[in-house]
Amino acid sequence: MKTVTQTYNDRPKHTLRTVIISVIVLALVVWSSPVLKYSSFDGGGEIAKNIARAFFNPSWNLIFTLRVDGIPYLMFETIGIAVLGTMLGAILSVPFAFLTAKNIVGKFNIIGNTIITMIRSFPFFLVALMFITVSGPGPMTGVLTIGILSIGMISKLYIEIIEDIDPGILQSLDALGATRMQKIRHGILPQLFANIISVVIYRFEINVKNATVLGIVAAGGIGTTLLTAMNAGRWRDTSAALWGIILVVIFIDYFSTKIRKKLISGE
């Protein structure tokens, strides 16, 4: 038997590992720092001051209007892209999730896993630019981009939910004479429902934020207005767009958290 002191002295030591990791991190920092030097800060201070001033004095005429280039309409379009994109992703994720859940397909989940991992590795703007060549500039491209990219996260979370299904409930339904269809409808669906809705709302929250920048590559939403206003130095218009985004995101974050809490814990 080893004594406590012996066990302490024989503890696994990671000195070498710590040194190597420290050296690598340090090297990375040194190696990448020139990137900062090349960017120009000329006049940056002046612009920052202008932005700060405009922030509290946005273009009110863009905010209080229902024109198609007004902020309310553009935010409406942005949210619309997020809603449709999230729904598309939520639906497309169902088959992926079922074909990748271990308790359904066992070891054959490699195929689904590979596809999901690939989708997760696609950079956001790259996908948007790809879809622009397919469906042209505009909101449709935004919806497709968000839909496809949502699959990565939504199906991963669906899989966790499906793998968590309590088989005991199915056994109970078996014991009371339910058919296979009835077991799926009244045994599996109610277990999945609250969780799935919660996941979809969570992803919607993220997608609203994604949709605000989609316009930068002309894929619809408020991003285009934001970018052109910024490039032209129209800081009060920029500020109006920012306010639209901030208010909507805060609003959606607040309700999304509330609803999800209610769904999961019933409180």
Partner: protein
């Protein structure tokens, strides 16, 4: 009536769980099955509603040959045999009444069942069942907000809502504290007396079995070593069932 005629059960992996079991259980009896872990108690109970299939001998229940029962006929037979599990098996994130209503699903038409449209009559049956086990006021609360004892009552109500003539219970109180366990056992007792439902219950705890059941079946390594009235049980018989002296483990209420 349930009748086992020289029933044996060998699992596909070769484990012989039951050997040459012959039993006759009349309608309205309250039977406790006791024995060590691995003795074959769960197997015995699960044969009755064909959650497991008999591999030797014959099993007859409700005038049906259970050996050959399958498909729709099996499902219809299962409507009349309720089952309660140790782990309650409720859907946590839905209301108590929805859990109980699951018992009505097999009797519903496909459209109502698919969309979850339960009739007023079904809802009244579910509430009636909840009332019977004393938790009517919890009907519209989510199942995960109930205590273990209350959850087992919901499971019992779900079984009652299918209007069974037999209830099978596999260690229904094993995960509950002694006081709650006694309350649940009294529920079983009341249901047995008032509705004349046959009850077969597996028990780990000898004292609870002796207190509530009228008949005890003792199993040791897949064989029935005692079958008789609760009144006739002696220390020696218990020793034979358990193959050893009783320990604290076997008794829920330790020396008081």
């Amino acid at each position: 009536m349930i009748e086992f005629k020289n029933v044996g059960k060998t699992y596909p992996n070769g484990v012989v769980a039951l050997k040459n079991v012959s039993l006759k259980i009349e309608n309205g009896q309250f039977v406790a099955i006791i024995g060590l872990s691995g003795a074959g108690k769960s197997t015995l109970i699960r044969l009755v509603n064909k959650m497991e299939v008999v591999t030797e001998g014959r099993l007859v229940a409700e005038n049906l040959d259970i050996n050959t029962l399958k498909g729709k006929a099996l499902r219809q037979y299962r409507r009349r045999v309720g089952m309660v599990f140790q782990s309650f098996n409720l859907i946590n994130r839905t209301t108590v009444i929805n859990n109980v209503l699951a018992a009505r699903v097999p009797d519903m038409d496909p459209i109502s069942s698919t969309f979850g449209f339960f009739s007023k009559q079904d809802k009244l049956i579910a509430l009636e069942a909840l009332n019977k086990v004393g938790i009517l006021e919890k009907a519209y609360i989510r199942a995960d907000q109930l205590s273990g004892g209350q959850q087992q009552r919901v499971a019992l109500a779900r079984t009652l809502a299918q209007n069974p003539s037999i209830i099978l219970a596999d260690e229904p109180v094993a995960s509950l504290d002694p006081i709650t366990a006694n309350q649940i056992m009294s529920d079983f007792e009341r249901i047995n007396k008032e509705d004349n439902i046959t009850i077969l219950v597996n028990m780990h705890h000898v004292d609870l079995a002796l207190k509530y059941a009228s008949r005890v079946i003792g199993i040791n390594q897949g064989e029935i070593v005692y079958d008789g009235s609760t009144k006739d049980i002696t220390e020696d018989i218990l020793k034979k069932i358990y193959g050893r002296d009783l320990t604290d483990e076997d008794i829920m209420f330790k020396d008081k």
